[in-house]
Symmetry: C2
Subunit: 348 residues, 2 copies
């Protein structure tokens, strides 16, 4: 099967946006506080993800790991209390979609992070979505200030409580920023990519995985600038007397394939070990158009992977399925419980 590990719910029913409007309006006028009952029926939910289901059929993928709209997480917006309500509501919608369409979607959640607030405050929601709702992973924002980078690096003990819980629950974190409130930093064109690059460099500088050998991070968008500057990172690690990156980071850090052209994907495949690459498209909407140079959608990333001559069939099986089952063990367990065991070598 083909698992796309990076999809966002960017086709939410209008009622969710209306709720958020009212919620933020209530910061200025408490009388506008909305009811948490969105009154969205199951039929409407299923209808809302038809675009994603069509893309799965058109492009031949089977299951999408599905999380709330990344820019919608908005950790820097409002205050911590409304962030908790917003996260819970957003996660509940994801949970319902994945429950209604379990063959097509597996759930990843957002956390109620807030700039300056203790990360411990996110643990109850993490426990809830994993233990009660069957989520297989979570998005962790390294910069909840939304483009100003006011949090300590990911290697700081500030983050340790959430890492302890991630390890205990056996779920990976995708390191994913939310929207940017910094007018100098565009969200999908700069902040997302910078977030990936910055997080990787934070991990390189530290020794986090000595303390958390079982912790797993997925860095999206092909790892930001990292594969393109792989020589720079290997060299900086060497100058810092760190172990080889394969030892220092690659037992714990994985990259997705949200790279929207063949030359970028070729670069990635040359430097990042196959075991660390997970298929993903970032559906739906980060880049919407058709590439005039190929006649295909930019975000149809499977096409680039299928064109990589260096990969064996076994390599492709890892990228499309095996690595995802290994990095998201709760997904593997869910699939097995549904009679989809996967190839033996993929989950070894």
């Amino acid at each position: 099967m083909i698992i796309d590990i990076h999809g966002h719910y960017t086709t939410e029913p209008a009622a969710l946006h209306a709720f958020r409007d009212k919620q933020l309006a209530a910061l200025a006028d408490p009388g506008r506080k909305p009811s948490p009952d969105l009154a969205i029926g199951d039929e409407e939910l299923v209808k809302s993800v038809q675009p994603q289901l069509k893309l799965q059929r058109d492009r031949g993928s089977d299951l999408t790991i599905f999380s709330p709209r990344a820019s919608g997480m908005g950790h820097h917006v409002g205050n911590e209390a409304i962030g908790h309500v917003w996260s819970r509501l957003s996660n509940d919608l994801i949970h319902r979609v994945c429950t209604l369409l379990p063959d097509n979607f597996a759930a990843v959640g957002q956390l109620p992070q807030f700039p300056g607030a203790p990360i411990d405050n996110c643990i109850p929601e993490l426990e809830r979505i994993v233990r009660e709702c069957g989520f297989v992973g979570v998005n962790l924002n390294p910069d909840p200030s939304g483009g100003y980078w006011k949090s300590p690096p990911l290697t700081d003990r500030y983050w340790y409580p959430i890492y302890e819980k991630l390890v205990e629950l056996e779920v990976p974190a995708m390191i994913h920023v939310t929207g940017s409130c910094n007018p100098a930093v565009h969200f999908t064109g700069a902040h997302y990519i910078n977030g990936d690059t910055t997080a990787f460099m934070q991990l390189l500088q530290g020794d986090l995985f000595r303390d958390f050998p079982a912790l797993k991070f997925v860095i999206p968008h092909g790892g930001g600038a990292v594969p393109f500057h792989w020589g720079r990172y290997r060299g900086i690690a060497q100058d810092m007397k760190k172990p080889l990156l394969t030892e220092h980071l690659l037992k714990n850090v994985f990259f997705d394939t949200c790279v929207y052209h063949l030359p970028g994907m070729e670069c990635m495949a040359k430097v990042i070990p196959v075991d660390n690459i997970l298929f993903a498209s970032e559906l739906l909407g980060a880049v919407k158009g058709i590439d005039p140079e190929t006649g295909h959608h930019y975000d149809d990333t499977r096409r680039y992977i299928d064109q990589l001559k260096s990969l064996t069939d076994a390599d492709r099986q890892k990228i499309y399925e095996g690595n995802a089952r290994r990095v998201y063990p709760r997904l593997d367990a869910q699939l097995r419980a549904r009679g989809k065991a996967g190839k033996a070598q993929a989950v070894a």
Copy 2:
């Protein structure tokens, strides 16, 4: 000839560092204010750049475009007044090195930018270094706050006075941040690369070159994440109804080759037109070591370019010399005045 367009004076005499220590100490204790006379002799200056000269000989490059240490610019440090003194002093040292060794070095300056200060305040120093000292370009920092991105984007009218002067003087700007004072953002491993990526995206979002068709920017470090995500940027431009990037940006925006491994350089050469690529190594010291996979220094970027099978001899001549003469017309004029005309097609 082979022109390396991105070198920094990272082997400064100790007297320069001692000056800076005293200058910053004087913020707390005015009695420590140093004399601006560094008492560095010509012999000491020439000796200080022997490592660079050796690398030129070893690697077969002829001339390095030489600017002050990037992280040393420190626009966010202290106050605007000391920044003016510091910039002038740093530029004067570059000027002396380039005057002593005109066959080996051409000068690029730093500006006395300060967070929140009008960019107009940098114009006198820009005029001085170009008109009086023969500098051929200047570094422009898109984030003088040092990792917090507090300035408006490069397309904002805030920056227009400096662009008018750059066009008038016919000098390009290299878009180069300085050190990071943000503990979440490592300087060479994150801030530099993010700075490149962010600046490119700012330019993509705007229409700056409609107002300044003759303005030229060099984005260093291979353009940050841009070539790796070239499909993403083409797609975002398309979604924003911008012209093709070749039309929208590539008449004015150039990339250097500070990419420290072959797969990255291959990716760049596949997507960035040859006319937009300028040879550079970022000597000396961003990455110091020898790559165990090749047995050569990571930053010996000429080796990667020489291995690119897709390039013709004419392409290489552009990357090594012709494009630099075109983007830095004052350098070309200086070389011609010294009897080094270059190939006709390279400067057409």
